[in-house]
């Protein structure tokens, strides 16, 4: 069988005449962690719902594990676990009872379910509170209970919609650790988020959503490369010397502009740091700082959407 566990072609969803998802092509490889990133309302959740067959498509095709979610929803849902945005549980039942209910819906026998529930709860570290009512659970515990449900069901694909939204930093990193361990177990993970910095550590690839389209699919490094203009940005601080005069003579420098007292920002087509430093020192300048300014991932993300806005 193919290693593409999810294949979407020209996926479209319209509400009335307004396209919410507008012709998306997406392929997910087995075992990878794919981040679906984009601002709120970019069509991430709608795409997820279409992949799961929970919303009808207006156009395009989806294959999940070589099945059509609209035609064979039970088979698809059996293998795909979904953790919805701000997941809810029955507050009057305990965590364990909530899982037992979904286990029965999934067709597990009682003995099998109890065994799997125990293992899953231990893995998400909820064993101690498993018999407390969910009403007493914190946000983070509810999310972990949601992950336990996916583990209990032996999902091959885990689709997590905004799993970290509204969590404190410690719960977030706990949750990310768990998600990372999912992919180590060979579960394919789809994570949607509007926060690149949070999911970048766990994603092998990201897909950037904007206004119902995917603008970019690839690794985070490829994203940084794509968004940058390919030029080198260097910051130099040196005293007792005219940096601009020196830098001008170096081959490849395209722009020099002052950036505060004794500081300069230089744009070049290649890494000229070593050469510039050597010349500055040779000419008697006291070099205090020379630094290549990388485009951070957060900036890349913002830059990407800024560019997308300009194009629109």
């Amino acid at each position: 069988m193919s290693t593409h566990v999810i294949e979407a072609k020209g996926l479209t969803k319209r509400y009335g005449a307004v396209p919410v998802v507008d012709g998306i092509d997406l392929t997910v490889e087995e075992g990878e962690v794919l981040g679906l990133l984009g601002p709120n309302g970019a069509g991430k959740t709608t795409t997820i719902l279409m992949l799961l067959g929970l919303t009808e498509t207006s156009g395009g095709t989806v294959r999940v594990l070589d099945k059509d979610p609209a035609r064979e929803p039970l088979a698809v849902k059996r293998d795909v676990g979904y953790l919805p945005d701000s997941v809810g549980f029955y507050d009057n039942l305990s965590g364990r009872e909530n899982l037992r209910y979904t286990a029965r819906l999934g067709g597990l026998t009682t003995a099998e379910a109890d065994r799997k529930i125990d293992t899953a709860l231990a893995r998400v570290r909820l064993s101690d509170v498993a018999d407390r009512r969910v009403a007493t659970y914190s946000h983070g515990m509810r999310r972990r209970l949601g992950l336990a449900e996916l583990l209990m069901r032996d999902s091959r694909i885990a689709v997590l919609d905004e799993p970290t939204s509204g969590l404190d930093p410690q719960s977030t990193s706990e949750l990310l650790d768990l998600i990372r361990s999912f992919s180590q177990d060979g579960i394919t993970v789809l994570v949607s988020s509007h926060l690149l910095d949070i999911v970048q550590s766990i994603c092998s690839r990201v897909a950037l959503f904007n206004k119902g389209r995917i603008g970019f699919v690839g690794t985070v490094e490829e994203l940084a490369g794509k968004v940058g203009d390919g030029a080198f940005h260097i910051e130099v601080t040196a005293e007792n010397i005219d940096v601009a005069e020196t830098a001008k003579r170096i081959d490849g420098v395209s722009d020099i502009r002052p950036a505060g007292k004794d500081s300069w920002r230089i744009t070049a087509s290649r890494d000229i740091r070593a050469e510039l430093a050597k010349r500055l020192v040779e000419r008697g300048g006291s070099l205090t700082n020379i630094d290549a300014r990388h485009v951070s991932l957060g900036e890349a993300y913002n830059l990407f959407f800024k560019e997308a806005r300009h194009e629109a």
Binding site: T55, Y82, V87, G88, N92
Partner: protein
């Protein structure tokens, strides 16, 4: 285009969970307490009345259901009035409550069809109502045996069981209505109010409104006696739009063996009839069969409406 797997997979799981939730909910306890208290009051008053007017009656037990002593109405009319309230209490947040708790998308992501959720909700609530009605029925008989000192006859049993079944269908109409509102309206408080308004209109105001509607539809011509019959029949038809009217007719017919008809009867039709003689049980059921079918159809119609809307509903608000 055939769907894979059964749409009923998981129905019983959901139904049993719903039933368990209802059984343990404070809402259900309160409303059942109300029903039990009024039922006990009605029966106690009826027994007093029956004791005061002891006569030869082959269906003495059925009098427990129908005899009223001022100022209390009879058990049957209490049921007609209060059971919709029970059904609405069980159903008004059936679907929108799941959205509100944010459990709907998680449940629908399980390997079941949507059909199972609505079927399960309906069945679960019907199960609870069935258990409650059966308990009430048994309590009635227990009280009757204790206080009247008489065992119920076979006819009593047959008729009251038929009445029990009809009552279940009648409650089902209101449950389907409440579920339909909970599907259409996102806020549980609004859907509860909507269902309660319909209940108030049909149980209290409908009997006041229907004569006006009827007289507008078929006015009485003082020079044409047949127009009086037409007006009466139109009035009856309008009144029968309310499930409470239909249920009232069913209750009268099943619990009072001597009643012969639910509509107007001409003198010529009464020829040879032994007035006051009881009808066989099956004949009584036959007379109100259209009413029972009507109630059943109403239940199905409302449920289908809810089903239709729910199947197409977006998982996300």
């Amino acid at each position: 285009m055939k769907r894979e797997g059964s749409p009923l997979k998981g129905v019983m799981t959901i139904a049993l969970k719903e039933a368990a939730d209802h059984m343990t909910s404070a809402r259900m306890h309160l409303i059942m307490l109300l029903v039990l208290l009024t039922a006990a009051g009605a029966v106690y008053a009826a027994i007093d009345q029956i004791k005061a007017t002891t006569s030869e009656d082959p269906f003495l037990f059925l009098k427990l259901f129908t005899v009223a002593r001022e100022p209390l109405p009879s058990f049957a009319s209490f049921m007609g009035f209060l059971l919709p309230l029970v059904a609405i209490a069980l159903g008004f947040d059936g679907v929108n409550g799941e959205y509100g708790r944010r459990t709907m998308s998680r449940i629908l992501a399980q390997p079941i069809y949507r059909d199972a959720v609505l079927f399960g909700k309906f069945l679960g609530s019907m199960l609870v109502i069935g258990i409650a009605l059966l308990t009430l029925w048994l309590l009635m008989f227990g009280l009757g045996i204790l206080l009247l000192g008489l065992p119920p006859s076979g006819g009593d049993m047959a008729r009251s069981l038929a009445y029990l079944a009809a009552t279940l269908v009648y409650t089902g109409v209101w449950l389907a209505l409440a579920l339909a509102f909970s599907t259409l309206i996102r806020a549980p408080a609004t859907s509860a109010l909507a269902a309660l308004s319909v209940w108030l209109i049909f149980s209290i105001f409908w009997s006041m409104i229907s004569p006006f509607v009827a007289s507008a539809l078929s006015p009485v011509d003082p020079y044409d006696p047949v127009s009086i019959v037409h007006a009466y029949e139109t009035g009856l038809a309008v009144a029968r739009i309310s499930p409470a009217t239909l249920y009232g007719e069913v209750a009268t017919m099943l619990l009072d063996p001597s009643s012969r008809a639910v509509g107007p009867v001409f003198m010529s039709q009464m020829q040879g009839a032994l007035v006051g003689a009881p009808l066989p049980t099956l004949q009584s059921i036959l007379i109100v069969w259209p009413q029972i079918s009507g109630l059943f159809a109403g239940m199905m119609l409302l449920f289908t409406g809810a089903y239709f809307v729910f199947q197409r509903q977006e998982v996300r608000a």
